[in-house]
């Protein structure tokens, strides 16, 4: 079935609320999923894969382990980027504002592809950002220029298979400077695949025009989560609506 972005937004907010997310978290998580889906990065499939662990995640956030000048290390406590992503990017941006550049490493965190929307959102406040992580034999990098609405999304062949669940965020005033910091720390080699901003824009426009295709089972599962925030209707409760 197809749904509109507005409709999916309303459903996801309540579904995440049903999972126990707080107001800021369910707003951010919803934005992350929808952005990924509409820009062609399979946000709904990622969500479907993530849901089993979200049911039992206890809504844990990242914990600060270390903070030295412009570098910070966070522990994601095996939680999801949907819960830790905002904190991580915001900390990196704050460090960059105070120190000229910021670098944050988030360890032990899942669903890292959702971070794209958080980077784009932060880029609207005069920050340039790079995110990097490794999944098995693949590495991924997202780069966003200050003020840009779409990132450049690149995939690399990793030199070694890694089960590491880390995410690195680099932030500065302009992308060239941030890329230089990134290259100095990590050199993944040439990308094997790059998704251009134009491809993402086309995907976004198509879904805005036609609606977003969502698997019936996932929609049904979201409905069940939404039901968690609804209150049973009684004669007495109808009085609370004006009867």
């Amino acid at each position: 079935m197809r749904v509109s972005r507005n409709e999916l937004t309303a459903s996801l907010k309540k579904a995440f609320e049903g999972l126990g997310f707080s107001v800021g978290d369910y707003q951010d998580a919803t934005a992350m999923v929808i952005w990924s889906e509409m820009h062609g990065l399979n946000g709904l499939q990622q969500l479907q894969d993530a849901l089993p662990s979200l049911y039992s995640c206890l809504c844990l956030h990242a914990k600060l382990i270390r903070n030295d000048d412009n570098y910070a290390l966070l522990n994601g406590q095996s939680s999801s980027i949907l819960l830790c992503g905002s904190q991580t990017v915001r900390l990196a941006c704050a460090l960059a504002r105070q120190q000229g550049s910021g670098q944050v490493q988030l360890d032990n965190c899942h669903n890292r592809r959702f971070i794209a929307q958080r980077l784009v959102s932060a880029a609207q406040s005069d920050s340039a950002l790079v995110a990097y992580w490794v999944e098995g034999d693949r590495a991924f990098k997202l780069s966003v220029e200050s003020g840009a609405k779409q990132p450049i999304y690149s995939e690399f062949a990793s030199t070694a298979i890694s089960a590491d669940q880390s995410l690195m965020i680099f932030v500065g005033n302009d992308l060239a400077a941030v890329e230089a910091k990134f290259s100095a720390a990590i050199n993944p080699g040439p990308p094997i695949e790059t998704t251009s901003p134009d491809t993402m824009i086309n995907s976004y426009n198509d879904m805005l025009e036609q609606g977003i295709e969502i698997d019936d089972n996932l929609w049904h599962e979201l409905d069940n989560l939404v039901a968690r925030v609804l209150v049973e209707s009684t004669e007495s409760s109808r009085a609370g609506a004006g009867d």
């Binding site: 749904v3 800021g24 956030h61 966070l74 915001r90 609606g211």
Partner: protein, 569 residues
């Protein structure tokens, strides 16, 4: 412009009336001036008026279709609440022309409303119920070759009332961003929803004429055009509208800022004094509002008292304007002085009526603001802000929230929740009703208070720290801080009231939003829902393209020409 501390009080917001910037007014201006062509391409109704109608709408930038299904409804099943599942009329506004296949798809889904699904070619889904008091009466009169009595119409003001107009992507419809960017004719907030109600009004008048003609082809007459203009569309609005105002603070800020800008421009225009022409128009407008309020029929005691008070005060104003006109002009009296006098001496609703009337006087200064009513609801957190600055900001911008004593039982005597019945928002009584643990986060004042207290505690240990570090420690406050920082950059937006107080009056929230829609004749049915009238007094489709003086606010009974007098028949 007036300060937020004055404007954003709930009782003042609940005293707002429509203005030139209200969405119905701007839509009608656009349709008439651009001469939209609206014709029925399908009018397939049986003799009782049940069937299908399709109207093709040729607007300035595109073509649209308004599709309507008329069904038999047992009066026993007629229910205006959102939980209803049957209606007299159901309709959809679609992009482009509708072919037979799409019409069939719509026929299978539109009558089901929330239980159906449509697609992104549809902008708005809506439904309407007949007025038990007027519809049969009007059709009977027309059938007998007579015009209906205007006094009977004045009691109700409409033939049908709409109980919902869904847009913005609900139930598979087009996303608001698609409508805004692709269809310029409907690129203003709620323009498509208002148009759907306008078309319901058009159909309702055509429907009455049609059924009368079917019943008595030789003797039936058509409704007189002046009477037609006096018919609006009824509307029932309940709590569903209330959370919208809290959850779209930037949009509400935008609407109120434009209205306040319009008022400030009107007051400035009169700063050097007033002339005879403008004073005459103002006095005539005052007389009209007095008559309008006198013609409102409501069973709500409080509203009746309020209407009476406003009428008395406006009568005082009109008498003064008529008696002292020359002195007012000679003494260089200004609108600012009148506004100040009203604030010191008159009822809050009188003040806001006067403000709407002042805005009305200066279309050349005001109407351009209609293009500024939309804004993206995009909140941003500033992570590098020091907690010291955030604390100062809360103390400055949210002093009203910090002044509320939430330790008092009545300060948390209510809670808002969504019912499992169509997710209808409802108001519960704390520790009495079920569902407190699932309450909606609409208590902005309490949220700010809790956030402020946590910041103060955290700062005792980390006085130099920033927001980013605070939300690592207290992640559940990120939403609150995001809202506080965003709204601190705007003037209006947050309603300065404890919305979970035991005595909260949600009807003020509804009235505020409805005033921006442009409705009139508020008829509260409780503190939780209100009946009102849309488009009463507005031009008809047959008036489009003709010379037009945009002056249909505060509608009054028409004075009929002799040819349309009921007694002539």
């Amino acid at each position: 412009m007036r300060p937020a501390s004055q404007v954003m009080q709930l009782n003042r917001l609940g005293s707002f009336h429509q203005s030139r910037l209200s969405f119905m007014r701007t839509l009608v201006r656009r349709m008439v001036q651009e001469n939209w062509q609206i014709n029925s391409t399908v009018f397939d109704l049986d003799t009782e008026g049940y069937g299908t109608a399709v109207y093709e709408v040729k607007a300035k930038y595109g073509t649209y279709s308004y599709v309507l299904f008329s069904h038999y409804l047992d009066p026993e099943n007629r229910n205006d609440r959102v939980i209803a599942d049957q209606w007299d009329l159901t309709m959809a506004l679609c992009e482009g022309s509708v072919d037979a296949e799409q019409l069939e798809f719509l026929r299978n889904n539109v009558p089901k409303q929330e239980a159906g699904r449509v697609d992104s070619r549809v902008f708005v889904l809506s439904r309407g119920n007949r007025s038990g008091r007027t519809f049969d009466y009007v059709v009977d009169q027309l059938t007998q070759g007579r015009q209906p009595d205007v006094d009977v119409i004045a009691e109700v003001g409409y033939l049908y009332r709409t109980t919902a107009a869904y847009g913005s992507g609900k139930l598979g419809m087009a996303d608001w961003e698609k409508v805004r960017t692709k269809h310029r004719d409907f690129a203003r907030p709620f323009a498509a929803e208002m148009f759907t109600c306008f078309m319901l009004r058009h159909f309702s008048l055509q429907h009455a004429d049609y059924i009368a003609a079917q019943r008595a082809p030789k003797t039936a007459v058509k409704l007189d055009d002046d009477i037609k203009r006096y018919f609006g569309i009824g509307n029932s609005t309940g709590l569903g509208m209330a959370p919208f105002l809290i959850n779209h603070p930037l949009l509400i800020n935008q609407w109120i800022e434009q209205r306040e800008t319009a008022l400030a421009r009107a007051i400035m225009a009169g700063r050097e004094g007033l002339d005879t022409a403008i004073l005459d128009r103002f006095a005539s407008g005052t007389a009209r509002v007095i008559q309008h309020l006198g013609e409102i029929s409501t069973g709500d005691t409080q509203q009746n008292i309020s209407n009476g008070l406003v009428r008395e005060e406006l009568q005082e104003l009109e008498h003064w304007l008529r008696a002292e006109g020359k002195n007012i002009i000679d003494s260089h009296y200004s609108w600012a002085e009148l506004v100040q006098y009203a604030e010191c001496n008159w009822h809050i609703e009188t003040q806001e009526v006067i403000n709407s009337m002042l805005i009305e006087l200066y279309p050349e200064l005001v109407d351009e603001l209609e293009e500024m009513m939309a804004v993206e609801e995009d909140q941003h957190l500033v992570p590098q802000m020091s907690l010291d600055d955030l604390k100062d900001l809360i103390e400055d911008k949210y002093d009203w929230a910090l002044a509320i004593d939430f330790s008092r039982t009545e300060s948390q005597g209510s809670f808002w929740y969504r019912s499992e019945e169509k997710m209808e928002p409802r108001l519960g009584q704390t520790y009495v009703d079920m569902g407190m643990e699932k309450q909606m986060p609409l208590a902005i004042g309490r949220m700010v208070r809790e956030c402020y207290d946590e910041i103060c505690i955290y700062m005792t240990e980390f006085p130099q720290q920033d927001v980013a570090h605070f939300i690592l420690q207290q992640p559940n406050f990120s939403g609150a801080i995001c809202r506080i920082q965003t709204m601190a950059r705007s003037q209006y937006g947050d309603i300065r009231e404890n919305l979970v107080h035991s005595d909260v009056l949600p009807i003020h929230l509804l009235r505020c939003k409805l005033s921006f829609f442009g409705v009139s004749k508020f008829d509260p049915r409780s503190r939780l829902w209100v009946r009102n009238t849309m488009f009463q007094g507005a031009p008809l489709i047959s008036d489009f393209g003709k010379p037009f003086f945009d002056d249909w606010q505060f509608p009054i009974k028409p004075v009929l020409s002799s040819t349309s007098d009921p007694s002539v028949g």
